[in-house]
C-alpha cells in the first residue's frame, strides 16, 4: 500500500491546521456562513437533513487495518457508532459536530487520510477496481496509476474551480468492476506491443443526463498519462459550461461537441503541452509502484474444504479468484437482508480491521457496490474467516444477487432527496432473498433523486425516487449495466408508489424467471426480449 511521504503528510497536516483556524473563526462569528460554506465543503463537510455530514476519501478504495480501525474510532468518538460506505468507495459520517471536526480531521491525518476534495467542483477521489492487484485478469495493478493521478490532482491549482465536479476511475482489465465508462475520465491500463499505457475514455457519467464515455485515445504511454488527462481537463475547463449547473459536466461538453471534435481539441492541447515536459518523472511512478509490490505469498495449492453447506454457499457467492494459487479475495457483504446498504457499525469495522490484519495481509478494500473486500485470504483459512464473519453478522452470501442492492442514503439522510431509497431496498431484499440463489446475478440499484448516487441508470433493475406533489414516488428502469457490457437502463413507464415499486420489481423478476433461457442473467433476458413483456406485465393487468 502507498504510504505518505513528507510532502503528503505536510500538505494534509497544514490543511487540518488551516481548517481548525477557519472553524474557530466561524464559531466566534468572525466569518459568516456564506464565507465559510465553500471552505467547509472543500474539507468534505456537508449539511445534510439531520446534521453535518463528513465525507472521507478512501483513495481507490484501499485501506489498511490501521486505517479501518481509525475509521471505527471516529465513528465511536465523533459520530453515533456507525459509518456509511458509498458508491464512490468513500466513507461518510452522518452526525458530525462542527466544533469537533478539526480534531476528527487531525485523527484522520494521523493515519494518512483526509476529507479534502470530497466535495466541490474539483477532481474527486480516484476510484478503481476493488480487486486491483489480486485479479488474475488484470494487465497490472492499476493502483499506482491511480495514486499518481491522486497526487497530480490534489490541490491542483488549475483544476480547483472546474465548471463542475470531476470523477476519474482507473482499471487494468477488460472486465470493468469500477463503472469506468460512467466516469468523467475512465482509464484502462493496457499493454500494447509490450509497452504499458492508458486507453482513455471521457465524458461518461450518471446523474440527470447519463452518458457512456466514448474512447478518446486508444493508447497513451503510461509516462504521458498525466499530461493527457491534463489536456482533457484543460479543454473541459476552457469550454465546459459555467452558466448552467445542469449542463456543466464534461459529458455534456463531449456530447455537444461530438467525440471527434473533442478529441481533436484534446490532441491539440496535448501536443502543445508535450514540449513543456509536465509529466511526472518516470522515477515517481516507479517509486509509487514499489509500494504496491505484491506481498509475500506462501507457495500453496488451490483448494479448501466445503463440507459445511452454509460456508459452501458463501464461498460460491462471495469469493473472487485470486491471481496467486491458494488464495482468494473475499467480499464482506454489507447488505444483510433488511439492513441498510453500506452501513457498518464501529464494532463491525473493528472486526473487519482485525480480520484484515489476521487473514488478509493487512488490507481491506471498499467496493462501489458498498461492500468490503479482504483481498488476500489463504484458501485454507477461508472457513475460519467465514466463521468469524458469520458470528459478526458480516457473512451474507449475496454478492451481486438480488439482495445485494446499491442504495443511496435517500430521503432518510440526504437534503437533496425526493424519496427514500433505503426502506425500498430493505423491502425488495426481503421479498427477493428467498429466490435469489435461483435467480443468479441481479444488480438492483436505487437513487433517491436524479443525482443518481445509487447508480440507478446502471442497474439491471434501477429505481429512481421522484417527488410527486410532495409524495414519494418511484420510477422503474430496466437494462442498465456498469460493467464491460455497459448500458443505460430505460424507464418502464409511469411510476409507482412506495408499495407499488416493490411489487413492480417482483413482477419484472417473475417475467424474467418465466422467460429465462439456460443460465441467463436478468440483464441477458431483458436484452433478448426487450422492454415489451416487462411493460405488459407491469401495466396491462387491467
Amino acid at each position: 500500500m502507498y504510504r505518505y511521504d513528507q510532502y503528503d503528510q505536510a500538505m494534509v497536516d497544514a490543511r487540518v491546521a488551516e481548517f481548525r483556524d477557519q472553524v474557530e473563526r466561524r464559531l466566534s462569528g468572525a466569518m459568516t456562513e456564506d464565507q465559510f460554506k465553500p471552505l467547509r465543503l472543500m474539507n468534505g463537510l456537508y449539511l445534510q437533513l439531520h446534521a453535518y455530514m463528513l465525507r472521507v476519501a478512501i483513495p481507490y478504495g484501499t485501506l489498511s487495518s490501521t486505517q479501518m480501525r481509525a475509521l471505527a474510532d471516529i465513528a465511536r468518538k465523533y459520530d453515533k457508532g456507525y459509518a456509511h460506505f458509498t458508491t464512490r468507495q468513500n466513507v461518510q459520517y452522518n452526525w458530525i459536530q462542527l466544533k469537533e471536526t478539526p480534531d476528527l480531521l487531525a485523527d484522520l491525518a494521523r493515519v494518512e487520510m483526509h476529507a479534502i476534495q470530497t466535495s466541490g467542483n474539483c477532481i474527486r477521489n480516484i476510484s478503481s477496481d476493488q480487486f486491483a492487484g489480486v485479479a488474475g485478469d488484470e494487465v497490472i495493478d492499476p493502483r499506482p496509476h491511480a495514486e499518481l493521478l491522486r497526487q497530480w490532482s490534489s490541490f491542483h491549482p488549475e483544476f480547483s474551480f472546474l465548471p463542475r465536479k470531476f470523477k476519474i476511475a482507473v482499471i487494468a482489465s477488460d472486465a470493468d468492476r469500477a463503472a469506468m465508462r460512467l466516469h468523467d475520465i475512465g482509464i484502462r491500463i493496457v499493454r500494447r506491443d509490450g509497452v504499458l499505457g492508458a486507453q482513455v475514455f471521457a465524458g461518461g457519467g450518471m446523474g440527470r443526463t447519463p452518458m457512456i464515455a466514448p474512447e478518446i485515445r486508444d493508447f497513451v504511454p503510461e509516462d504521458q498519462m498525466v499530461s493527457y488527462c491534463e489536456a482533457i481537463l484543460r479543454v473541459y475547463n476552457r469550454h465546459g459550461r459555467r452558466d448552467n449547473k445542469y449542463k456543466a459536466r464534461i459529458k455534456i461538453l463531449v456530447h455537444e461537441t461530438g467525440a471527434d471534435k473533442f478529441r481533436e481539441e484534446v490532441e491539440a492541447e496535448f501536443a502543445h503541452m508535450q514540449p513543456l515536459d509536465l509529466d511526472p518523472p518516470r522515477a515517481e511512478l516507479a517509486r509509487i509502484k514499489a509500494f504496491f509490490a505484491p506481498p509475500e505469498y506462501a507457495a500453496i495449492e488451490d483448494g479448501y474444504d466445503t463440507s459445511d453447506p452454509d460456508f459452501r454457499i458463501w464461498a460460491e457467492t462471495n469469493l473472487f479468484p485470486h491471481k496467486q494459487p491458494g488464495y482468494a479475495a473475499a467480499t464482506i457483504s454489507l447488505k444483510p437482508v433488511g439492513g441498510i446498504p453500506g452501513d457498518a457499525s464501529a464494532e463491525q469495522m473493528d472486526i473487519v480491521a482485525d480480520l484484515a490484519a489476521r487473514y488478509s495481509m493487512d488490507e481491506v478494500r471498499v467496493t462501489h457496490a458498498q461492500n468490503l473486500v479482504l483481498p488476500n485470504v489463504r484458501q485454507d483459512r477461508l472457513y475460519a474467516l467465514w466463521q468469524e464473519l458469520d458470528a459478526a453478522g458480516l457473512a451474507p452470501a449475496n454478492l451481486d444477487r438480488a439482495s445485494d442492492i446499491i442504495a443511496c442514503p435517500g430521503l432518510d439522510y440526504c437534503s437533496l432527496a425526493n424519496a427514500r431509497s433505503i426502506p425500498i431496498a430493505q423491502e425488495v431484499a426481503k421479498r427477493l432473498a428467498p429466490i435469489e440463489r435461483e435467480v443468479g446475478a441481479l444488480q438492483i440499484k436505487m437513487s433517491g433523486c436524479i443525482n443518481a448516487c445509487g447508480h440507478h441508470h446502471a442497474g439491471h433493475i434501477g429505481v429512481l425516487g421522484v417527488d410527486k406533489k410532495g409524495v414519494e414516488s418511484y420510477q422503474l428502469l430496466l437494462g442498465g449495466s456498469a460493467a464491460e457490457d455497459v448500458s443505460l437502463a430505460k424507464i418502464t413507464g409511469p411510476g409507482f408508489d412506495e408499495r407499488g415499486i416493490v411489487d413492480a420489481i417482483e413482477t419484472v423478476t417473475s417475467v424474467y424467471r418465466d422467460a429465462r433461457e439456460g443460465d441467463e442473467r436478468f440483464l441477458d433476458t431483458y436484452r433478448r426480449l426487450g422492454m415489451a413483456p416487462f411493460k405488459e406485465a407491469l401495466y396491462d393487468k387491467a
Binding site: R26, L27, G29, T32, E33, L47, L49, H50, A51, Y52, K80, W95, I96, Q97, L98, K99, I340, L411, D412, Y413, S415, A417, R420, I422, P423, Q426, G470, V471, E472
Partner: protein, 96 residues
C-alpha cells in the same frame, strides 16, 4: 402556519424557532406569520443558526405539522434508524 427552521451552528442539530428562541422539538415551533425572513436574518447574524428557511405547515391538535415530508423527516430522524434523531429521545407528535 409558517414555521422557521434551521440548523444549530455548533452541532448541526435541526432546530425550530419557538417565538423566543430555538428548540430541537418541532412541537415547540411557533407560527411566525410574515416574520420568517426577518427572524432568519437576525438569528443568522447572531451566529446561532445557519441554513435557516421558512416552511409551510398546519397546526394540528397534536402540534405543528410541516407540509413537506423532508421537514417531517428532519423533525423525527431517519425512518430506518428509529434509535437516532429526536425520535430516539421520546415520541414525536408528527409522523412521516
Amino acid at each position: 402556519m409558517k414555521i422557521v427552521t434551521g440548523n444549530d451552528l455548533k452541532t448541526g442539530d435541526v432546530i425550530w424557532w419557538t417565538g423566543s428562541g430555538w428548540s430541537r422539538h418541532l412541537v415547540d415551533a411557533a407560527d411566525v406569520g410574515e416574520d420568517g425572513e426577518a427572524i432568519i436574518a437576525r438569528e443568522s447574524a447572531a451566529q446561532k443558526v445557519f441554513d435557516g428557511y421558512v416552511v409551510d405547515g398546519e397546526m394540528t391538535d397534536a402540534g405543528p405539522r410541516p407540509a413537506h415530508i423532508k421537514d417531517r423527516m428532519r423533525a423525527l430522524g431517519p425512518s430506518v434508524r428509529l434509535d437516532l434523531g429526536v425520535q430516539a429521545k421520546g415520541p414525536v407528535h408528527v409522523s412521516l
